[in-house]
């Protein structure tokens, strides 16, 4: 669930921001004191979640569902990416101790901490077994399931006692990868309250109940939880109220009594309410970033929410015309050197983006191919291209241009980009301008859903005519804790839309996933940063958050896009 592609849903303005698109929310009891509602409640701009069951289902994987579900049902492991703990496990929020790895990396033994359900019953391995039975019996209905992945890659699941269980994998994995990208899916479920005996029947009943949002607040099924919050009120497509769970057994007890999740019909309506000071936590639509100072003067703290993500321009290596050009490493390098990431991040994104330098998220320092138009021109000329500034650069010497490149071939590409994002339009105006200076002609085509029209394809297919695709107006790819590339850049990977293929990259990706060598991920990152499977682009923040300055505990915002309302409190 953590890993997902950020796809624009067109004029609907991409659902993965935390708000918008919901139905009209009731005004609630927002006070005139900036929505603080007596200082024991926080009002949050938040799209109405529509899936409560902590087993994700296809079509219900939106970010708000993950946040909602995590507030009610704790995951086995929570993560924090500040480097303060081994394998990024957050020891405070996790329900289990860090796994003990044995058997050459194949067996991970996990011990549960002492925690209870909201009805006082202890959380035990029965609840893990119950989750395991449900997902293995119904894996085709589980959104996180990928053939060959979890749980197919498990050779044996064993319960030792009430507190200890183990997984033995079919192959030896890099423990960090397995912990970050596989164990992140486990959520203990209240077996004593939900189990009907048959895993299929139970799953069907739970799914049916989850598809009935109007009963969320009243159905006894959802009364037993493990999270710091309980559901007090749920209005389908409307307001959701979370109340502090008094029996919560975790160490991170909620400090507020209630959190009101309020949806808005769109960015503009949310922003107007934010400007009026009627919500405690909201967001600034990127187009209104210039309002930052105004909001700060009204008592809001504006805080960029950095995601564990990268942003890139996908190249179609299988395009029958231009694919052969993208296969030339020098050409990719030249194109990359024509993208002024630092300036675009600062001027166009208003410092709410940072350069992407490789496949592993970083601070954007030290990119291998920094902006250097002169060097890009030299590189093209050295490889047989006749550079015509502000004209059309063509291949003059086919022998030098590279295998398969014909004499006279032009450097002219169409970029399929996202409509509805002003900053993205401006960014491509700038990139087009820079590329034109060395005779590389870009045609920008904006569509509501650029991913849908630029699929992975074979050269013979008619749908393979796209050259470059951009879908990163809110980040192209959000990683789980371990930022490996088996889904993005491996040959034939599901989200390798451009069909990039490099045996060395495949080897390094395998090593990052399977080797115990802690430096494997670094080696993989270094190689792909240099080999350019895509063109690295400025990585926008996940969201520009704005919250009342009296609200504490909001920062740092989780780079994996979860929200921990239990940390929030009002300054006394």
């Amino acid at each position: 669930m953590g890993t997902r592609i950020r796809i624009a849903c067109g004029v609907a303005a991409i659902g993965l921001s935390l708000t918008a698109c919901g139905g009209g929310a009731g005004a609630g009891n927002s006070s005139q004191q900036g929505g603080s509602q007596g200082k024991d409640t926080a009002t949050v701009a938040f799209r109405t979640p529509n899936w409560i069951l902590p087993i994700s289902a296809p079509g219900f994987t939106q970010g708000e569902n993950d946040i909602f579900s995590t507030a009610l049902y704790r995951k086995l492991y929570s993560y924090k990416l500040d480097g303060s703990s081994p394998d990024n496990i957050d020891p405070r929020r996790s329900l289990a101790e860090a796994p003990a790895v044995s058997d050459g990396g194949r067996t991970l033994t996990i011990t549960l901490k002492d925690n209870t359900w909201s009805d006082g019953k202890p959380i035990t391995t029965k609840d893990i077994q119950f989750w395991w039975d449900l997902v293995t019996t119904n894996k085709d209905k589980w959104a996180s399931y990928r053939p060959g992945g979890f749980p197919d890659n498990i050779d044996a699941f064993k319960v030792k006692d009430d507190k200890t269980f183990s997984f033995t994998t079919k192959k030896a994995y890099n423990a960090a990868w397995f912990i970050g990208n596989q164990l992140n899916r486990i959520v203990p479920l209240p077996q004593h309250a939900w189990d009907k005996g048959d895993a299929q029947q139970t799953f069907a009943e739970l799914t049916a109940a989850a598809k009935d949002p109007k009963s969320y607040a009243t159905n006894p099924l959802w009364k037993v939880g493990s999270g710091p919050w309980k559901l007090e009120k749920y209005v389908p497509n409307g307001e959701v109220v979370l109340a502090k769970a008094d029996t919560y057994s975790g160490p991170d007890k909620p400090k507020l009594n209630k959190v009101v999740l309020r949806p808005f019909t769109g960015d503009d309506s949310e922003f107007n309410v934010l400007r009026a000071g009627q919500i405690d936590y909201g967001y600034i639509p990127p187009a209104n970033l210039s309002q930052k100072t105004y909001l700060e003067s009204k008592g809001y703290t504006v805080s960029p929410w950095y995601g564990w993500s990268i942003t890139y321009l996908q190249l179609n290596f299988n395009n029958p015309e231009t694919g052969v050009l993208f296969k030339q490493p020098y050409l990719r390098q030249a194109l990359q050197m024509l993208i002024d990431q630092p300036t675009i991040s600062k001027v166009i994104w208003g410092d709410m983006a940072s350069p992407t330098c490789g496949p592993v998220p970083s601070k954007g320092d030290g990119c291998v191919y920094p902006f250097d138009p002169a060097k890009a021109q030299q590189l093209l000329e050295a490889n047989g291209w006749k550079v015509v500034p502000d004209g059309q650069t063509t291949c003059q010497d086919a022998a030098k241009c590279g295998e398969g490149v014909k004499q006279g071939a032009p450097l002219a590409f169409t970029v399929t980009s996202q409509s509805g994002f002003t900053a993205t339009s401006k960014m491509f105006a700038e990139i087009k301008s820079q590329m034109a200076k060395v005779g590389v002609q870009l045609t920008i085509k904006e569509v509501p859903d650029s991913v849908a029209v630029t699929p992975a394809c074979k050269p013979s297919e008619s749908k393979c005519s796209w050259d470059m695709s951009f879908f990163g107006s809110q980040g192209s790819w959000y990683y789980p804790a371990f930022a490996s590339g088996e889904r993005l850049f491996q040959t034939g990977a599901p989200v390798n839309l451009g069909s990039y293929s490099n045996p060395e990259a495949d080897k390094l990706i395998e090593q990052a996933q399977f080797s115990a060598d802690a430096s494997a991920l670094t080696a993989y990152n270094a190689f792909l940063a240099k080999d350019l499977p895509v063109l690295w682009m400025p990585n926008p923040v996940y969201q520009i958050s704005a919250y009342k300055s009296g609200l504490q505990g909001v920062d740092p915002q989780d780079p994996m896009n979860l929200m921990y309302f239990q940390d929030w409190s009002w300054k006394s």
Binding site: V11, S290, S419, A429, A436, T443, I444
Partner: protein, 290 residues
């Protein structure tokens, strides 16, 4: 022969007199001429780089040296951008409006003159296309093809002809029963000749007046499409796209990005509406006699 020539000249003069009598129509012509001159002749006198962005000089205020109307969010000179945008808006508006008028006139004249099942089929096609929201169709088309100026003309023209078709069809239904048409048919004249020589020429007043509104509508359609991000890609510009970009700066104080393109759109649409009203007077026979 000479007498007929004099009569035609007289008709033109009468028409011109009626048009000139309409002050708003004259104002419309004046506004259009000014905007066209600004857009097409302006770049000859005021040079600006509308190809390369300049991120070091974004959002410069009006009055800055070299940028009398300031710069936009990627450093384009705003005055030069207005000229460039005007070219696209006027060219697409005129061409798409005329295309829609020609197609709609021919379609409606044939349907109305032929009558019967031909009319039924042709007009059901029109009804069916009219039942689909134009904006949805524009968005669909713009998503399928790469928006360029010729493509925008074709896309807008391809769906804007429905109105003129209905209008002319109504005219043709009455014209086909006129004596001179019946006489020509009685003498063995073909249907095509009747449409070409009698139906369309006698509906020309309606057609021309409607054409001005079609042009105004086409300019607005370009603005709509650009507003949705489906206009001509950069570095090309049009007033609708500039207005859309400017709206994102509503709260930022960059008024020079918002008001000029908005005012330009209002002015040119008004101009064509005024011209249309004037032309309606010209073709109104009763007004000529006053």
């Amino acid at each position: 022969m000479n007498d007929q020539h004099n009569r035609v000249r007289g008709l033109w003069r009468q028409g011109l007199e009626v048009f000139v009598d309409n002050r708003l129509a004259l104002a419309g012509v004046g506004i259009f001429v000014l905007l066209a001159a600004f857009s097409f002749l302006g770049p000859l006198f005021f040079h600006s780089d509308q190809v390369h962005t300049d991120l070091a000089n974004v959002y410069l205020s009006p009055g800055t040296a070299g940028h009398p109307m300031g710069t936009d969010g990627v450093g384009y000179d705003q005055l030069g951008r207005l000229m460039l945008g005007g070219q696209t808006s006027i060219v697409v508006g005129l061409a798409a409006g005329l295309l829609a008028t020609v197609v709609g006139t021919v379609w409606g004249a044939i349907a109305g003159f032929a009558g019967g099942w031909v009319d039924a089929i042709m007009m059901r096609v029109v009804d069916a296309m009219m039942s689909i929201p134009a904006l949805f169709l524009f968005m669909l088309m713009a998503a399928i093809v790469t928006p360029t100026v010729p493509m925008l003309i074709v896309i807008i023209g391809a769906f804007a002809w429905l109105g003129p078709a209905r209008l002319v069809r109504g005219e043709a239904l009455t014209l086909r029963t006129r004596e001179y048409v019946l006489a020509m048919r009685g003498m063995g004249g073909a249907g095509g000749r009747a449409v070409r020589r009698h139906i369309i020429p006698n509906a020309i007043g309606t057609v021309i007046v409607n054409a001005t509104f079609q042009i105004a509508d086409a300019i607005l359609y370009v603005a709509y499409l650009s507003f949705l991000g489906l206009g001509v890609p950069p570095p090309a510009a049009n007033w609708g796209g500039m207005l859309s970009d400017g709206l994102s700066d509503t709260f930022s104080g960059h008024w020079w990005l918002l008001y000029p393109p908005g005012i330009a759109i209002i002015l040119i649409v008004l101009a064509f509406n005024f011209i249309g009203d004037g032309l309606r007077d010209v073709f109104e026979v009763r007004l000529r006699r006053r």
